[in-house]
């Protein structure tokens, strides 16, 4: 078995409305959000996500406030997962998502290039600001009432303990290291994709991921390895 976190080598920045990873090496530009252009023209032709986003943005700037919901539906899941991975708290992740989309709406006319990368940077910066500023009390992403998928109560207890320890270990990382780890191992992004989103180099990101891994392993191995 190869590890690789079953992570895909993705070329698109986001896979909207997608909770399932594609096959390794797969390139996902498929759209699942509502189509805004005429799909009957050639349904086999891949539709450029950026073009669809630009069309929505034009509609919003033209006065159609409701069209903005298409962008929310299209991108909220990957952004929510990023915020959740960065903060460990569903409530905080929801707040960050809301504030980020409102900010995006208010500055929509300033979008240059891809909307998804632009809005990702808004969310990523909000997460890092939160991590830098917050005096945290106990928060973790097991606070909410997601249905349990564990087969036995013992297994659920073990997983909850690991989850809690993992959250503590992640909280010990600097925001930039946590961000790199979450993007690589939770969101399953390639280094190239991360570099594009964060505006840095692949080498720098590899170093951050390596340092995050080593720190997590150091913190967790005695108890779990």
């Amino acid at each position: 078995m190869r590890w690789g976190w079953r992570a895909p080598a993705r070329k698109g920045i986001f896979r909207p409305q997608d909770g399932v990873l594609p096959a390794p090496g797969g390139v996902s530009r498929q759209l699942q959000a509502p189509r805004l252009t005429n799909p009957a023209a050639d349904p086999t032709q891949p539709v450029d996500q950026a073009d669809l986003d630009q069309e929505v943005i034009r509609r919003v700037l033209g006065g159609s406030r409701d069209a903005f919901e298409l962008l929310i539906v299209r991108y909220s899941d990957p952004l929510y997962r990023h915020a959740l991975g960065m903060t460990g708290s569903p409530d905080v992740a929801e707040d960050i998502l809301q504030q980020s989309f409102i900010k995006a709406y208010q500055h929509l006319s300033e979008v240059r290039g891809r909307f998804d990368a632009w809005v990702f940077r808004i969310v990523a910066n909000a997460c890092k600001d939160w991590l830098k500023n917050i005096r945290r009390t106990h928060v973790s992403y097991d606070e909410d009432d997601q249905p349990s998928s564990y087969s036995t109560p013992e297994e659920e207890l073990d997983r909850n303990e690991l989850r809690s320890d993992l959250e503590v270990a992640l909280a010990a990382l600097a925001p930039s290291l946590r961000e790199a780890f979450v993007m690589k191992h939770v969101e399953g992004r390639s280094y190239e994709e991360m570099a594009e989103l964060l505006g840095t180099t692949v080498g720098a990101l590899k170093m951050r991921v390596h340092r995050a891994r080593e720190a997590l392993q150091h913190l967790l191995e005695e108890k779990y390895a």
Partner: protein, 148 residues
């Protein structure tokens, strides 16, 4: 091997690898001063390229990594972390968040100004009173002209 190059004080990591309580330690990688160190693009001094990273990046097969000292334990640990990551990866935005965001958007940010003759007339008692007065006045004028 852990790199604590950016964590100059002893608070950075607990001795013996025991998990610290939340908030008790400085974050790993926290900068020592406002003049943040730049991201390094070269391997850390003294740290040889690790098989762990090659394995986690999918460049080395698990069997090979397991054969290394401590490899078994590392595989078990990272498999557990991986399972947690899978759980997080399957999370989706609660639907009420979409509505909450839409409700919080300002109404008039991108409202396009229309010419006066295309704007809807708001109906309220004052407007209705003005319309009634105008109609009565017009009727009176027309009736007076017709009676002459």
């Amino acid at each position: 091997m852990f790199d604590d190059l950016n964590t100059p004080d002893d608070r950075a990591l607990p001795a013996g690898g025991a998990l610290p309580a939340r908030g008790e330690l400085a974050r790993v990688g926290d900068e020592p001063s406002p003049a943040a160190l730049p991201d390094r693009e070269v391997p850390l001094p003294g740290a040889a390229p690790s098989l762990l990273h090659q394995w986690l990046d999918g460049d080395v097969a698990t069997a090979i990594f397991r054969a290394t000292p401590g490899g078994d334990e590392a595989v078990d640990l990272w498999n557990k972390i991986h399972d947690e990551a899978e759980t997080l990866r399957s999370r989706t935005t609660p639907l009420y968040v979409h509505k909450r965001i839409m409700d919080a958007l300002p109404d008039d940010k991108y409202r396009v100004d229309q010419p006066w003759y295309r704007r809807p007339i708001p109906m309220n008692p004052a407007v209705l009173a003005v319309v009634a007065v105008v109609l009565i006045a017009l009727g009176a004028i027309i009736a007076r002209a017709a009676l002459r």
